[in-house]
Each structure stands twice: as C-alpha cells, then as structure tokens.
Amino acid sequence: MNNGCLENRKKEHDNSQKRPKSYKFGSRSDDFALAIAKVAVAQLCESVGFQGFHLSALETLSDISVRYIYSIGKTANLSANLAGRVEGNVFDIIHGLEDLGSNLGFSGASDVDRCVVSSGVVKDITHFVGVSDFIPFAYDVPGFPVVKESTKTGSFWEKGEDPPGEHIPSWLPAFPDPETYATRLSVENETMGVSNGKKTESELERVERNMDRSLLNLQLRFAHNENKGGSSHGSGYVATESNPYLAAPLHVGEKEVSSVILPTKLSNEVALRNPVHVDVGNHVSVLETFAPAIEAMKSGLCDSDNVKKKLLYDQRPTVRFKIGIGKKSLGTMSDLNSQNEEDLLKIASWFGNDNEKDDKKR
C-alpha cells in the first residue's frame, strides 16, 4: 500500500487507526503510543528524503524505534540498580546507548580507560543535533496514560463514624445508611430493579421479594387463562401477544381457509390401498367409505387434510372390498341414491381424471 506525501499520510492517519484485518494479535495495549510513534517516524523519514512509505515498512520501523527506547530504558535501569540506585542518571543512559551502539561501534569504543562522560556516543549525538534540522512533532500529545482518580473508599474513619461493634476495624468501608435498605419495596418497582441498587438486603427481604414475584407471576397466569377460556398459554403470555410466530396453533375449524381440491395422486393411493374389486352386492360399503368425504363437502369445512387422513385411516384393512375403476361401477352406484348425486359426480370426476391420466400414459 502506497501512501502519498506526508500531508496525505496525516489525513489518513485518523482513518488508518483501525487495525487491518490481517493483524493476528488484535489490539495491543500500547496502540496509542504506537500510533504516535508512527507519525514521528514518518516525519523523520520524510526529512531524510522519502516521499512515500509502505504501511508495513512504516509499522515495522516504528515498532523497532519503540523497542529501541524500551531497551535503552531497560539497560539504564539495570545499570542504576547495579549501582544501588532506584533512579537513573545520565551515566546509566550513556551506558545503555553504548550497549546498543556496540554493534556498529562508536569512536573510542576500544579504549580501555575511556570515561563515560567523554563517550563517543555522546559526541555522535551532539554532532547529530548540530547537523539535523529542527522538525517538531506534528500533533499535540497529551500526557498519557491518564491516571484515574481513585475513588474514596469512605471508610468509617473517614466518615467519622464509629463502627457498630468492636470487631469491625475503622479502616473498612462504612455501612450504607439504613434508609436505603430497610424499607419494603413495592411490587411495581421490582421489575425496574431495586431502586437503590444496593445489595444490602438481608436474607429475609430477599426471600420475601422472591415470593412476591412468584405470586405475581401466578396471578398473571390465572388471569390470562380466564381470558383465553381455558387454553394454557401461561408462560408465553407476553410473547404471544407480540410475536405471531409464537402464537398457539389453530385447531381444525377455527379459521376458514380456501378449499383444496383433492389431487388425483391421492385418489390413486386410495384406489391402490384397496386393489380388490367391488362385488356388486357390496356397493353400499363403498358409499360408506366415502361418507366422510361427502360429509365434509356437504358441511363446507374444507380442511381437506383431516378428511384425507380420515379417509385413509378409515380404509385401513379390516374392510376389504373391490372397487372397480371404470364407469360400470359408477353406474351401479348412481342407481342407489339420487340424493348424493352431486357428490357421486364429484367422486366420478376423481376417477374420470384417473382414466384420462391412464389414457395419456398409454
């Protein structure tokens, strides 16, 4: 990724604060400091002569520069501790710089009796300061990390109260005022949470509150059941009102739906289940088997699924008879009962369709 000149870099600085998705380790604890380091390093690179950076290269260099600072500090701290001091001084830092600069070497590194004060490292730095341009940092950096103000513990001693009982030392936090927990909370406030938000209830209070809550739930359930007329939807009371998908399923006949024409495939199944032929003498029983279908069509309830199921279930094997497929058998049926003519015609249509299908197959 190429970033343009430094002006673009500064504009994108805020935008590029979000970590790239390929970063495996997530956000580090010193993200803010690293961002500042990136800007500083970018400024330095621009002063050297670069006109653009690869983001990975910039991140790497800023990470290394931060580690450089860190290692100077560590070495300086080590030499201070070795000398029996807690705070470092300039000699510790020069020791640290010499350690880090020993790779490339500095003037006077090989001298046996060199003094820290006249170290070549310091001379190099002095020279550098004399030569380099003055480049101020681009942003105003606040002091970080921000120190959080510690909240006062509010001990007995601070409040000036006497702890109740000799066993309680005065440096412990004081008890809250009795008014905050002694009063009984009303039922309406329960759902809003304890009004004072304190965990100072005694066990008795808590048990009583739970009992009240459960009683309330029970009352709600009974009230709802009365409204619904006996259907048990206690637990989903609130949910059923708002969410239609959680509503109770409808029973057969509750809601009018459009009629479904029984498909020919199903009538085929009906025929197949009873492959034997109807004897002429038993034609009455055929009507009886189709009686549920007839009744369903008569009454107008069109929950054909149930009717179909009843049809199938009723025709389970104890009754065996033969059904002839073809108009001959229908002819005999039509002689029987003129009242059911319409229904018979309908039934005939099923078989009629059947015949047509067979013809097409042939």
Binding site: D30, A40, F53, I69, G73, N77, I125, T126, F128, F144
Partner: protein, 136 residues
C-alpha cells in the same frame, strides 16, 4: 600527577561539554515527543525526574531512526539506478522514493535487527520482481 591533572582537566572539559549539551537539548525539541519516550521508559522501569535525560533518549532514538532511514534510502536509490540502466523509460516515472520492506530489512540487518518477510507464491512469474517500480 601531571597525568592526573590533565585527566582531571579533561574530565572537567568533558563534564562541561556534557552538561552544555544537555542544556542545549532543552532548546532543541526532538521530533519524537517527550510523552512517548516517557511512556516507554516508564514501561521498562527506568525512573528519572530529569527532563533532559528524556530528551537525550529521544534524540538518540531520532538519530537511530534517521540512520536506518538513510541507509534504506541509499538502497532505494541504488536499486533505481540499477533499473534505469536497463530501462531508460522508467527514469521519469520512478522519481518517487518509497520506503519498502525490502530496503528496510536490508538496512536493519546491519544494525543487528533481522526483519524477514515470509515468501509468498504469486500468480504469475512477473509478480514481485521490482516492487519499487510497481505502482500499487
């Protein structure tokens, strides 16, 4: 004795040079902000109330980064010069100097820092031949 006196004088000179230098640091504000340096020094355990020492560390880091960047710049320029020898067309295109991982790793190696990127497999043979001359 004489030697000691001379060394003492020398030390005095060095001391004064050092103290002068530290005093001059207060006039010169380094590019790396003080707060950043303080944060990382505190992280490493180095405690110091003196601001001049923090400036000293900041200036030392600035010098280090400038040297590394300078070496990377030399590498970049050398690469561009090599390319220009082969193809004169690119001379006008690639006047931009861009800090790349390649140049940076080469310059950091001299400082004892090993920065190596993992090799990756590219789609075509021409990918990645000259990253500096390729506009991304």
């Amino acid at each position: 004795m004489n030697h000691n006196r001379q060394s003492n004088d020398g030390n005095h000179d060095d001391d004064s040079a050092l103290s002068d230098f530290l005093a001059s640091l207060m006039d010169y504000t380094p590019t790396i902000p003080d707060e950043l340096v303080e944060h990382y020094l505190a992280k490493s355990g180095f405690q110091c109330p003196d601001v001049r020492l923090i400036r000293l560390v900041a200036v030392a880091t600035q010098k280090f980064v400038a040297e590394v960047a300078n070496d990377a710049l030399q590498h970049c320029k050398a690469r561009q010069a090599a390319v220009v020898k082969d193809k004169r067309e690119k001379q006008q295109k690639d006047k931009r100097l861009i800090l790349t991982m390649d140049d940076l790793s080469k310059s950091l190696r001299e400082y004892g820092v090993n920065v190596k990127q993992q090799e990756y497999f590219a789609d075509s043979p021409s990918t990645g031949i000259d990253p500096a001359t390729r506009d991304e």
